[in-house]
Symmetry: C3
Subunit: 131 residues, 3 copies
């Protein structure tokens, strides 16, 4: 087991928000991640932009954290997204298809009241890439 | 890793809905699936029936996709269900107990605003059956 | 695969509520658990206390079930929490930080209409502890 308490790319932002849960924990070939939202990793502010922009920032945050671990968005196998407004699914879906490359990860999307922001995303990654 | 981009049983329906995420991705002994709802795999329509019927169709869809992969509903270890109306839990629970056999999978059920339909289900399966 | 149909600590309570899904299923080094809420394992009643108390009872239930399996809360790698009232996040977060020890598990928290109670928690544990 490897515990990534705080990925270098995200460490300062997560500390700013006093987030103490681990960023990711690896068990064997699987990497389980904490939920992430559209926190700007340099300004430490949650984006107030539209859901498409927030979705892109959130996935890019995962991309930066995965790179810290020697992985990339190509290693993501599962994406769970919760939207504050589920009718925004098409906007989220467009970003998902743009940020990831085929073959795409598995994915589930539902609506949910969120702690902050318009989208909360959680991922599972694998030690080998999808392609 | 094995990526099941589109299970033969579901391929035509998923293409009809322009669903591009992978159906399932296997890592070692675990198979992670995308969320599924009550899409009729032959008519390509989302069921407008009551939640019990939609739940049954959804689980049968997983059954068909698992069979494509040489597995069955007996290989499911984890079920996450989201209900558009959480007070329908008893109807969903009855279908869960009818479609699966003991020992039952692990399960979590909560309510959520859904993209389509009355129920969204996500599963994890294993390479060995529960019984 | 090892199926923990009903952990001794929770068996009587789960039977009282006619809960038939498995408590946990182990595949390799991972233990997937069913969702749990603030059921008092001795009185078989769902707590009517505030969300902080309910969160503590829920995590202590997992602790008891993990002990039945020769594990502890130190083996938890992932926590998914759903709050009936997402504005109660600070109360839940305080309990999370108090019950678990650093390095903390990964975690995602969102709001959701719940079947019963103020909080529903689901965990994944590993065969080796976080520390």
């Amino acid at each position: 087991m490897t515990i990534i308490h705080s990925s270098p790319s995200a460490a300062a932002a997560l500390e700013q928000f006093d987030i103490k849960n681990s960023t990711a924990i690896q068990v064997g070939d699987l990497y389980f991640f904490s939920g992430m939202t559209a926190i700007d990793l340099s300004t430490f502010e949650v984006s107030q932009a539209d859901v498409a922009t927030q979705a892109r920032i959130t996935l890019e945050n995962f991309g930066a954290m995965l790179e810290d671990m020697g992985l990339s968005l190509d290693h993501v196998i599962k994406v769970n997204a919760q939207l504050a407004d589920v009718t925004e699914f098409p906007s989220w879906n467009a970003v998902f298809l743009d940020v990831f490359d085929a073959p795409y990860p598995c994915r589930t999307t539902v609506g949910a009241p969120l702690v902050v922001g318009e989208i909360e995303v959680e991922i599972i990654a694998a030690s080998t890439p999808r392609k």
